[in-house]
Symmetry: C2
Subunit: 469 residues, 2 copies
Amino acid sequence: MANTANRRKSSAAVPKSGVAGASLEKKAVTRENKRMRVLAKDLSRLAAENTGEAELCGWIHRIREFGAVSFVILRDRSGLVQLVLNGKCEYPLESVIRVAGEPAVNEKAPGGAELRVSGIDLLSMASGDLPYQVNADPVKIGLEAILDNRALSLRNPKIRSIFKVQSTIINAFGEYLRSQDFTEIKTSKLVAGSTEGGTELFQVDYFDTKVCLAQSPQQYKQMMVASGMERVFEIAPAYRAEKHDTPRHLNEYVSMDLELGFIESEIDLINLEKKLLAYIFEQTAAKNAADIEAWKDKGASVPDPASVFNAPTVPYEEAIKLANEESAKKKGPRIFDINPEAERYISAWAERETGIPLVFVNDFPRRHRPFYTYPQGVSGTMSFDAIFRGLEITTGGRRQHDYNELSQILPRFGLKKENMEGYLSIFKYGCPPHGGFAIGCERLTQKLLGLSNVKEASLFPRDRKRVFP
Amino acid sequence: MANTANRRKSSAAVPKSGVAGASLEKKAVTRENKRMRVLAKDLSRLAAENTGEAELCGWIHRIREFGAVSFVILRDRSGLVQLVLNGKCEYPLESVIRVAGEPAVNEKAPGGAELRVSGIDLLSMASGDLPYQVNADPVKIGLEAILDNRALSLRNPKIRSIFKVQSTIINAFGEYLRSQDFTEIKTSKLVAGSTEGGTELFQVDYFDTKVCLAQSPQQYKQMMVASGMERVFEIAPAYRAEKHDTPRHLNEYVSMDLELGFIESEIDLINLEKKLLAYIFEQTAAKNAADIEAWKDKGASVPDPASVFNAPTVPYEEAIKLANEESAKKKGPRIFDINPEAERYISAWAERETGIPLVFVNDFPRRHRPFYTYPQGVSGTMSFDAIFRGLEITTGGRRQHDYNELSQILPRFGLKKENMEGYLSIFKYGCPPHGGFAIGCERLTQKLLGLSNVKEASLFPRDRKRVFP
């Protein structure tokens, strides 16, 4: 039987025993295809070390022909590298090839080395009718063309950078929370109704009934706190059936949610979010320096993690006052609410005063928050928003955990107790004081990189018109 | 302004500067509520070190009254701890309390220590009508009651264990792949149609049109490989509108997906999955020993990570033959396909022969695999399933990456080229040989713990009848 299974080159034979294969060794990567494939970024080291013939795989990024010799720039996931070919390159741009040859030091080549090619295999021929130059400025390609053809647009290293940053953000969010004893949960996105009331929901035909796409894991997070998990987080899609098409809205987005028990007020949550953001910034700065650099022309930068702790917390009424002062300076209109304009004003104010364009607005009035928000004083709530670089990236707060208080407040929000028994049951058998918040993954990505539209920070954004690809 | 923000006990004052707050210090956990809350698991250490008064928060798990003194077992996220109270405990079981007192060594108490309580605060009173004993055997509570009230059922440490294991699985999956240079992606779950054909889809009302819930991120993963990301993974919900209600099916499940470029055959994928599973097993054994122990009566155990590399790879036809041999021994019926029964047979065979109940079946016939599967010989494919403890936990394979080959094969699968242009466009401008697979998160959790129904491994499972809570 072993014979049959091993009929192909890449053998299925039992590898070296021991858990070595399971450990997190970076070195294993380049050997995985068993042919000593190396990455573009490693070629200069190999050339310097004189390690002998190497193999590269990737996309033909650029071709320059000089009579007997051609210089081909090959692109792989790690970057660009120069190939030197005898004769012409027979394949069109963006074709995928595998080449073997001798690495050689060449200070004029990108990365300081080149591969002198002795053999070339075509792995995939590209059609000659590229709809746009892969390396064009994203602004010139245009958002619609970028989104219509992700398999092509992401070949532009600048565009791909967005999602390398996003991958770090997602990982750092979970990594920090795990270090603080949070459990990662996965909850259903198919729910019977809404806990929020207002916002519109997408309906799903579910066998013989109708369900909705969850707009947040709110009630599930709370249930997990009450269940004794105490600290939970989830990274998952969330849905809003809102019709507006703005540079700050998505109908489907990645919500990075958390909830924890035994807090006293939203101030505990704000302090947690500061530590979380500082960790995310630390990780992004460490892992994505080149990706951030690529968007420098749009104002990309990672705030100093230490500066996050300088971010001010401003009560709602005071934030409105501040926004109006800023607006008056610029002869802008009067501001009555924390609208997008106010967010930009108080963010600019925070940057001027503290060095970081991050501000926490707390103490939202009752009328602006959902029924489950914990009260503060007569008409306030223990709730907050985080505004980063002029955009709300977080909404959160302490929740009402008392069954009786909750039952009594429902009618004031037009809700009936008999329709809310499922939600109320969370608080029936002992639920600690708790709260939580969510960070919009695409919005944080957008603001770190200075992207003008949040859709640029979503691989496959959904809006009223776009459900493709 | 600082005054206003700091009006409450938990101060918003700028904390110690520096990134210290952002680093992954475990110690910070118990100080987060600023009152020196400690966890149950830490009490014996504190008692031994004689560190003075401590505060505990949690749920009242058990009460025993002895006249002048009561012994209360308190439960928090870390475990159980004994409290010694003067007089009676006034609150019913499952109420949430905060207690202060002196830690003391007591070898008879769980964990070897107890708290001699000097102060007690009620944080949340539990209703007296608990529908079932929190600590009952899960079998006695019954699956329906467990799922109907997660806020209660997860208080049973044994039931909560399931999701502590699952949290580790999710993390280990991503951690291993990141170490191998994979990028984490988040793709849309709202798609225009199906790449698979057959399987039924849930329909969503999306503004003025209809879309479907994605049954897999298949085409998006492939697009990302073609885009030059080369190696991607996603952990996200997937949807199957199948009507069957079995212990192995969920209509919504967590799919741990990956895809990578520059492979030669499914054997590369099988080797990658072995390393991945070995890492997941290593992490689960290291982090969840007590959780696994809790399910020992159901056969829970984590395979030796090294043994994963002994798992055999058996071609489809041979697997059928093996299953029939096993079936014949037990006077079972003739087997014509890799059905659930065959999965159990060949898994048992693998365990007998190699010591691990894990087997990879490859070389599935063309008729059993989707159109995009890469061919092998005349009628085979470069595809595989992984079967672990009698259950298929993975389906994967190399994909056809050639535009022309794909276009030609579509009619054989009843598909029209004009309807598939979106998918075909992935292969138009250079796409490397590639493939991938997915691991069903709930199924892997189920099989590690010996759960009889996959629904036990989903916090909020969805089946034909259940959309609540």
